[in-house]
């Protein structure tokens, strides 16, 4: 789960990580009032969206006068930004974070993330902050310092001191750096994060370290023990189809193609997307109905696929293990009967009770397109989707 920068800043503050003072505005007047209340310039206006690359897309503006605040806020609020990390549909801006500006002397990069291969949390830092981490690790991998934190003893202050030395941070600032990384680790472990990132962490001309951006991702699997974090979820930032899917425990990711997919199992669902692409089509989504899907879930999955106007064909690819194909077939028939599906549906059923399942589909009298193999199903679905596009 992702949260906004301003929410992350609140958490940082609780954990002793210094952030500039700031407030949320939902319109231009509010932004101006906050700027007046802060009373000093520069002021930073930052669009609150769940996407990186916001700065380059015009989502961050440093202002030196009230007029500039007014103009910047007007340009951002209720507008759509197109950061390269977001999809082609862009991100709609509903909130602005208006903060004190800072006199930047130097920018650092600091983050902590789960390191799966080493089963630990890794501290990553660089004296070359400000740019995206992908860019940094590509351009100057030697300037990105890695430090594994042993989970059996957790973060110790010497970890911070060692990293400060690598970054060339000395004196009172090194002490601040240790306090910041200590807070980051405590936050990471106490709130079950998967990423805590400060980019950039700046040293100000006044000599202090300050987190002027904040990014936290949380482990979805651990949200059950953090109701306070769940309360920070912003549904406006998520795809409505993804929200609907999560209600039914369906793993759904919205994509941009025209072949809607319904598959059981994450690996098979990804493989289905791959084979669609191989035959010249584009998947409209990733959808894993899970290992224990029943007729009800199949029906909800269909509803979600049909609500997407981009979908021209649906491809159902089920490999019944514990899940029985006849039950799935029943779900498809029920969904088709109650919803009146008006686009072609290609169905491939294999595994447990596959014969029975195919029989149910054939006897239903519905215009379903049966397919025997994985490849045949994908080929047919792509042909149908592409022929529909030309109509």
């Amino acid at each position: 789960m992702k949260i906004h920068e301003y929410q992350a800043c609140e958490l940082y503050t609780q954990y002793g990580i210094p952030c500039p003072k700031g407030y949320i505005a939902t319109n231009m007047d509010e932004a101006v009032n906050i700027a007046k209340e802060i009373g000093t310039f520069p002021i930073a206006i930052k669009a609150q969206i769940h996407s990186g690359g916001r700065g380059k897309a015009g989502g961050v503006k440093v202002c030196h006068t009230i007029e500039e605040v007014q103009i910047a806020a007007k340009k951002m609020i209720w507008k759509t930004l197109y950061p390269h990390q977001a999809g082609p549909e862009g991100k709609f801006v509903r909130k602005l974070y208006v903060t004190e500006g800072s006199n930047i002397d130097h920018e650092y990069y600091v983050s902590m993330a789960v390191d799966g291969a080493n089963a630990c949390i890794t501290l990553l830092a660089s004296a070359e902050g400000g740019m995206e981490i992908e860019e940094l690790s590509r351009k100057n991998p030697e300037k990105l310092h890695h430090m594994k934190i042993d989970p059996t003893i957790g973060y110790r202050d010497y970890n911070g001191w060692e990293m400060a030395k690598k970054l060339g941070i000395t004196g009172a600032q090194a002490k601040q750096f240790v306090a910041i990384t200590r807070g980051m680790y405590r936050l990471f472990v106490e709130k079950d994060c998967s990423l805590v990132e400060i980019n950039p962490l700046i040293s100000t001309k006044e000599g202090n370290l300050l987190a002027i951006d904040a990014k936290i991702n949380f482990d979805d699997n651990a949200l059950f023990r953090h109701p306070d974090i769940v309360a920070l979820r912003d549904y406006d930032e998520e795809d409505p189809k993804e929200i609907e899917a999560s209600k039914y425990d369906l793993n759904y990711v919205s994509l941009n193609g025209s072949v809607g997919c319904m598959v059981n199992g994450a690996g098979l669902a990804m493989a289905t997307m791959d084979i669609i692409k191989h035959y010249g089509g584009e998947p409209a989504n990733f959808l894993d109905v899970g290992g224990s899907a029943n007729a009800e879930r199949v029906k909800s999955a269909f509803e979600i696929l049909l609500s997407d106007p981009k979908v021209k064909t649906i491809l159902v690819n089920i490999f019944g293990g514990i899940m029985k194909c006849d039950i799935i077939a029943q779900g498809i028939v029920e969904a088709a009967e109650t919803m009146g599906i008006d686009i072609p549906v290609v169905v491939r059923l294999d595994g447990t009770n596959a014969e029975k399942g195919r029989e149910i589909l054939t006897n239903s009298g519905l215009a379903l397109v049966p397919a025997k193999t994985f490849a045949e199903a994908a080929k047919k679905a792509v042909e149908l989707a592409n022929s529909k596009k030309e109509d």
Binding site: Q85, A113, V114, G116, A117, A119, C120, I121, I133, E134, S137, R138, D150, P151, T152, V189, D192, S194, D219, D220, N221, A222, F224, R225, N251, V253, L255, V263, N264, G265, A266, G267, L268, A269, M270, A271, T272, M273, D274, I275, I276, K277, H278, P283, F286, D288, G291, F319, G320, G321, I322, D350, G351, T352, T373, F374, A375, A378
Partner: protein, 299 residues
């Protein structure tokens, strides 16, 4: 076969839950030697004719089980694994999906220097066709034989097994290692066992985006493996930064792409399956080339 055979004695942790109960029945029907189960507070009961104990230690002492299979809900699954490690079970298979990653971090570090081998979590388990299964893999798609199968994802592993069976190629053991970023065993652990196993002549590995397990496995195969291996990597079309069902299947920081994994495989001389419907065919080509096709045919 590796990990389990017809003599492996198994207990089921969480046997009184609906999942535990259902799969215990399925496994008994397949022929797995389930000798007991645990649910704290329900010791003394019976499920599918096998005794229930309060703790793993007691279950092990009373039944002589060496393998423990876990169907405990995510919030308590890590504790279940720790208990099984403490009871010195040789093999622990955790089916549970959705275990918090920081819990698994603790488990993984606790495993160091212990006697236990952990498979999973978030995995379909293990099947040695015709002998035993511990987990949720459907038995009827498997055929006893000579090819080992390792996968991160359940249904895609089934798909691979199914394609092999359809081509008359049997399997020695199929293992699902799970889709989480921190897991008990990786590809290399399983490859090592298959390399040593006299009953296995070739291996199919099914990888996916996220992490670097496939890249590391490619190097290991190049340097250590004498038996033919073919690989399929799913997620060619997966977008960056999105979790594709599995917590571990995510391309982050530009790492863990299908392309980098397929590239690593090719560089190590491992045939990469071009599309998911060609897993069986690619393996057949490889074993024909190695001159072991006849030996791999199921009897």
């Amino acid at each position: 076969m590796i990990l389990i055979n017809e003599n492996t004695k198994v207990i089921v942790q969480g046997i009184t839950g609906s999942q535990g109960r259902f799969h215990t029945q399925q496994m008994l029907e397949y022929g797995t030697k389930i000798v007991g189960g645990t649910t704290p507070g329900k010791g003394g009961q019976e499920v599918c004719g096998v005794p229930v104990f309060n703790t793993v230690k007691e279950a092990k002492e009373k039944t002589g089980a060496t393998c423990s299979l876990i169907y405990i809900p995510p919030a308590f699954a890590a504790d279940g694994i720790l208990e099984a490690i403490d009871a010195e079970m040789e093999l622990v298979v955790c089916i549970t999906e959705g275990v918090p990653v920081l819990d698994m971090m603790r488990v993984k570090n606790y495993l160091i220097g212990k006697k236990t081998r952990l498979i999973g979590p978030n995995c379909p388990g293990i099947i040695s066709p015709g002998a035993s299964k511990t987990g949720i893999l459907p038995g009827f798609i498997c055929t006893p034989g000579k090819v080992g199968v390792i996968g991160r994802s359940g249904t895609l592993t089934y798909e691979a097994v199914h394609q092999l069976s359809a081509l008359g190629i049997g399997q020695s053991t199929a293992v699902g290692i799970g889709g989480d970023p921190i897991r008990g065993s990786g590809f290399i652990d399983m490859l090592e066992l298959f390399e040593k196993d006299p009953d296995t002549l070739a291996v199919v590995m099914i990888g996916e985006i996220g992490g670097t397990g496939e890249e590391e496995a490619a190097e290991w195969i190049r340097d250590n493996m004498t038996k033919p291996v073919v690989a399929f990597i799913s997620g060619k079309t997966a977008p960056k930064g999105k979790r594709m069902g599995h917590a571990g299947a995510i391309i982050s920081g530009g790492k863990g792409t299908q392309q980098s994994k397929a590239e690593a495989m090719k560089n190590a001389g491992i045939p990469v399956v071009p599309t998911p419907d060609k897993i069986g065919e690619t393996l057949v080509e490889a074993i024909k080339k190695a001159g072991i096709y006849e030996q791999c045919l199921a009897k």
